[in-house]
Symmetry: C2
Subunit: 121 residues, 2 copies
DNA sequence: ACACTAGTTGACTATTTAGTCAAACGATTA
DNA sequence: TAATCGTTTGACTAAATAGTCAACTAGTGT
């Protein structure tokens, strides 16, 4: 198997980390509607503009968003639509997992009292 | 556009967070070879077994890995191969981004002669 | 110049988390 | 039973980070 340099590993981890924050996912979700201003995003997310501005700037730095200034207002938009493919993959995984957890015997469940797999070879 | 409940948002963010750590990506990468014991993973990652055990247990809790005990040894394996699809999507994004930004620094180009990793111990 | 509006950034706090060592645990073997 | 090996977990430290407020920057209009 190929050895992956740790610098690359860190880059990939960094990209995932951008997506590992509910507020940022919320922003991405409402930017699906199209370009939006910092103020509107802040208002709809229920956080200060300062906070949202940091999130937007982080995502822009990582290439997920693009920035456009018009007068005193700054608009952000999706630069990398493939993010949504990532999100859908994850949602698929979670959905499968939830369905599976709903059907599996309780003793196998993660949060059940500790017990080794009973029928394992 | 549809409003996504914040609980779901947190779940998705949590899944991405599992993948946002270089050590965990390293583990996933070497588990592509197949099932491995905690001790071997720890040795090859260069961390203590305690540390690796925490990472493994986190990934198992999130459904990425599965655990099997044989005697005193515990083996972990990939439970959700679709993780690799996620990683490849991200790698694709990064590659595109690097090429695009690489008008200037020729040393970063993929076809350029190999470059030292300055931050490596 | 001045005031007004929208966004960004410095400084700080509270929370989370990767990593370590040491102790506990669980399975095997003497 | 005791000894031992591999793994897990409790307690702790150091570093990262989401969020806030306040100060600052940058356009627009009077």
């Amino acid at each position: 198997m190929e050895k992956i340099p740790s610098e690359i590993m860190a880059q990939v981890a960094g990209y995932f980390q951008v997506l590992s924050e509910p507020t940022r996912l919320h922003i991405l979700n409402l930017l699906q509607e199209g370009e939006r201003s910092v103020g509107e995003i802040a208002q709809r997310c229920g956080y200060t503009a300062a906070n949202i501005s940091r999130h937007l700037s982080l995502m822009t730095k990582h290439g997920l968003l693009e920035r456009r200034r018009q007068g005193t207002t700054v608009y952000y938009r999706i630069a990398d639509p493939s993010v949504y493919a990532l999100c859908e993959l994850v949602c698929g995984n979670l959905a499968r997992r939830l369905l599976q957890a709903a059907q599996v015997p309780q003793a196998w469940r993660q949060d059940a009292p500790s017990m080794e797999h009973p029928g394992e070879p």
